[in-house]
Subunit: 113 residues, 2 copies
DNA sequence: CAGCGTTGCATAGGCTATCTATGTCACGGC
DNA sequence: GCCGTGACATAGATAGCCTATGCAACGCTG
């Protein structure tokens, strides 16, 4: 109730954040872990909804940016573990570059005078 | 054809950019001038489509963030000149704050290791 | 062993905001 | 009097995130 009111993911950035998180993780992560990692590394500013994450993972599977295989968690739950493909690594680089270009353009507009 | 391929406005940022542009302009600006100013200050990275700008201006008029009045350009064309209201100035501050909070959260995720 | 809480994945439907495409009005030049 | 252009406007398509809901499977407990 004490509304920690976290921010939603800005449209267009979720794919990049997921790819970046998978790239940072040495091994493989499943959905929950990806969402968790993003929220933690954002210092709990961002909130990743399941209803956003899973469709995003599906999209990226289809596009071949990630690959997933079913496995078991430490608690013996079934879960789908994802890792980046080479294609996904290139895509991540492209998205980061575009993001930086745009956000520094916005920064120029916001800066005083 | 040498496709200067500028970037579209990231969803959710257009209002802020318009408000900021009006705040920066000493006097009043009409639609074309607002779009122009945004594109110029972004060093031609961003592209503001009319079909995005005018609906945005309408929204903000309704919300009372801006006020507009019909006038004449230097070439004697009819045009609607906009300026910020006090309410709009507060809104701008809120949006800039939220934007910075979120974009620094994303920066933390993107930064290596 | 039946029920229940929890973990993890998944989808349907709606909403918001942008883009594309098109249209309108009026001024000025020829 | 016609046409190019400046400036505003809107309809429809599209993309992507969120809300809400549901399901399957594991383990615990009585």
């Amino acid at each position: 109730m004490t509304a920690t009111e976290r921010d939603p993911i800005p449209p267009g950035t979720l794919d990049m954040l997921v790819l970046r998180t998978l790239a940072a993780a040495g091994g493989e992560l499943h959905g929950f872990e990806i969402a968790d990692a993003i929220e933690r590394r954002s210092r709990d500013v961002l909130q990743v909804e399941e209803g956003s994450l899973y469709p995003a993972l599906q999209r990226m599977l289809v596009k071949g940016w990630i690959h997933g295989e079913w496995g078991r968690t430490a608690e013996n739950r079934r879960a789908r573990y994802y890792h980046l493909t080479a294609h996904g690594r290139q895509q991540l680089a492209r998205e980061v570059e575009a993001y930086k270009r745009v956000s520094s353009a916005i920064a120029r507009i916001l800066q005083p005078a």
